[in-house]
């Protein structure tokens, strides 16, 4: 059994700030030069004619892997994972990709798409595990990864210097809540936005939820360099069991969050809310007959390329919901059995993945979903990202 002793932060706050600002200085190097130099050595190159996507998946033999692929599921890059994966962080300009373990997994796989080197596996430090998500700093040099500090019942962001051959942890920030899950970087308000799911878990209790009665989810806006919590929003206390998990930012700077309700299954609470740094959270309602089919569970949230449409996937209900980002209104639904991963394709379209190896092209609610692939024996995991 592990000791309950708290592990000290690897860096002091001062050295953390120095480290971050030191990295920031190097962003003055024109990114275009690096791109031009590395163009011919890129491990994967996405473009308008051949957009690429990435997802963790389970293979036909039950093992797990991560794939960069075309819309027909054909592989551009694939690497095995030691266990089930979840989502990934991607930085287009530097072609850095990090795939994360599904919680409470503690591995991540770094692929430097510029260098064309093989993947590098790394882990969160002792007494931390990943939550399956991460995001890069604007210049791609720092990775922010939500982690569990279960000893102190708090969420943290692990900060990793990505400029070397191997990710190097340079510090951490508190997320302002328990169970930080999805994370994004908002260029609109210059903040890291974290969905604190509110559920306390410990790796020695696997995925058991330990504080359902008292859970308190929130969405926090953090200064990316100092870690200062600039805002922390909670929903109405009556919704304290709505675990806020997955997020996407629309073209107007609002952060849309999908929840997973941990309360009485007979209740039908709202599942979608949106947030800004300094505004009041907004609840987005859907028709009751749709809500009744979703098992109170949203699996992923994605924005269209133009930011005008938000998509929320609900695999337990076999539904993909579409929302108007400008008005906040529900637009309609499409049926996809076990559909969960959704990634933007071009400006207005989406690619949807499911647990049976299917990939579907979606134009919205007025067209049918077009099957682009059905990979036998494959189960695409919860999240699909556009490269």
């Amino acid at each position: 059994m592990r000791s309950m002793v708290t592990r000290a932060l690897p860096l002091s706050r001062r050295s953390l700030l120095q480290g971050l600002f030191g990295l920031a200085v190097t962003t003055l190097v024109p990114g275009g030069v690096a791109l031009a130099n590395a163009k011919n050595t890129r491990l994967f190159q996405t473009n308008a004619e051949e957009p690429l996507f990435a997802s963790a998946f389970r293979k036909a033999d039950g093992s797990f892997a991560f794939r960069v692929m075309r819309e027909d599921g054909s592989s551009v890059f694939e690497a095995p994972l030691p266990d089930r994966g979840h989502s990934a962080a991607w930085h287009r300009e530097t072609a850095r990709l990090v795939a994360f373990a599904r919680r409470p997994g503690n591995f991540a796989m770094y692929v430097n798409g510029m260098a064309g080197d093989g993947p590098v596996m790394f882990t969160a430090p002792e007494y931390r595990h990943f939550y399956g998500h991460g995001v890069f700093s604007q210049d791609g040099k720092v990775l922010y990864a939500p982690e569990n500090d279960w000893v102190h019942k708090r969420g943290v962001l692990g900060l990793y210097d990505m400029t070397g051959a191997r990710p190097h942890r340079i510090g951490e920030m508190e997320t302002g809540g328990i169970g930080p899950h999805d994370i994004l970087l908002s260029p609109t308000c210059g903040s890291l936005v974290i969905a604190n799911g509110g559920i306390h878990t410990r790796p020695d209790r696997d995925r058991e939820k330990l504080n359902i009665d008292s859970m308190l989810p929130s969405v926090a806006f953090l200064h990316p360099q100092t870690g200062e919590i600039r805002a922390r929003h909670e929903l109405d206390p009556s919704l304290h069991q709505l675990s806020l998990r997955h997020m996407a930012m629309d073209g107007h700077g609002r952060v849309w969050v999908g929840g997973q309700y941990q309360g009485d299954k007979s209740e039908l609470p709202p599942l979608i809310a949106s947030f800004t740094l300094d505004g009041t959270p907004r609840i987005h309602e859907m028709p009751q007959q749709i809500k009744a089919q979703l098992s109170n569970y949203v699996g992923s949230v994605t924005a269209s390329g133009d930011g005008e449409v938000i998509v929320t996937s609900c695999p337990r209900g076999g539904k993909i919901l579409f929302w108007n980002a400008s008005s906040g209104d529900y637009l309609g639904a499409q049926a996809v059995a076990d559909g969960c991963g959704v990634a933007p394709l071009d400006q207005e379209f989406f690619l949807i993945s499911d647990g049976s190896g299917g990939l579907r092209f979606a134009e919205g609610t007025s067209e049918y979903l077009e099957l682009t692939a059905q990979v036998p024996g494959t189960s695409w995991d919860n999240h699909l990202i556009s490269l």
Binding site: Q289, K319, S356, L369, Q374
Partner: protein, 374 residues
Amino acid sequence: MRKTLATIALSAALTLGGGLAVWAQEAAVERPQTYATDYSRFAPALIEGYIRPETSALTEKLKRLEQATGALCHSGQSAESENAFRQALSGSIAQLARVDFLRFGPLAENNRAQRLAFLPDRRGVIARQLNKIMATEDPSVTTAESLAGKSVALQGLTALEHFGFATDGTLQLARGDHESFECAYAVALTRNLVGTAQELEAAWADPEGFSKTLSAPASDHALVQTHKEAAELMFNSMVTGLVLIKDQILLPVIGPSVEKAKPYRAPFSRSHNGALYMASSLEGINQALIAAGYMDALPEDGAWAADSLNFEFQNGARVIEELGGPIRVIGKDIEERKKLVYLTLVIDGLKDTLANNVAGYLALSGGFNALDGD
């Protein structure tokens, strides 16, 4: 029930252009109480009672196709050889449909599913690759051994159908400018298909292979650790098979409107075997469910689900049988479209009864993401 579904179908057909509401609505069904179920019975029953005989039949059907292709190409064209080829192709397509929803284990290994038929092909990969092959008369596709190393898009029944038939269903194999090359390719392709089917058959026949994985699950196996997981894997493949009939075939064929309907997107519709492929898929899934024993395992108060499935499978078969012609020909006809829309509802009903009710009675879990997402 029939009257109700027919009424729904009509209204769905009328509202189809307005937003595909029919595809966006699925009934939420409360899962009934579950009963103790012996999960160890399903895998041996399915393997012995369905998978092994059906994969063996696929090999036989493809051997006949190989012979018929050779006869058509080498014995001179005649009505008899053309009919024999058409029949052999139809038989192979129908048999493939009875097998290709078993998308786990041997069919999911070594690209076997794609090597038998490259589906879906939204971007026209088969046509693009065939154009190149035909333009250069690439000799590497003229022996089964060398073809096996080429793109899977060039190896399947889908490729044979594409260059063997014109878009209007006319048989054009061995009739064009590339006659001898096409024949060499067609014979190699069918021979390679026989090889793929034999691999599939052998893999399922191997008592130490995936049959054992399903029938005698091991706690340290990566995919199947319990009898219940084996039962779920098989069951879910059948549900997915139904979803594919709708999503891969019917939805593009019907489209959001007559103008946007794409009957040509139905697999094997070029050779006028599109409806046959669908009907055989439905029939195969039904027989696999029964052979596995899922219906027999239903508790007394769940027996209605087996009756309902039986009725709706027959209903689906009847609708397909009553189509007024090949899908490519009738796909844009208003009355025929109503039948196809109705068929989507029948399949929705089948899927819902299986995924909600039967799965509920047998306590079978479905969904990689739905079951235990994050």
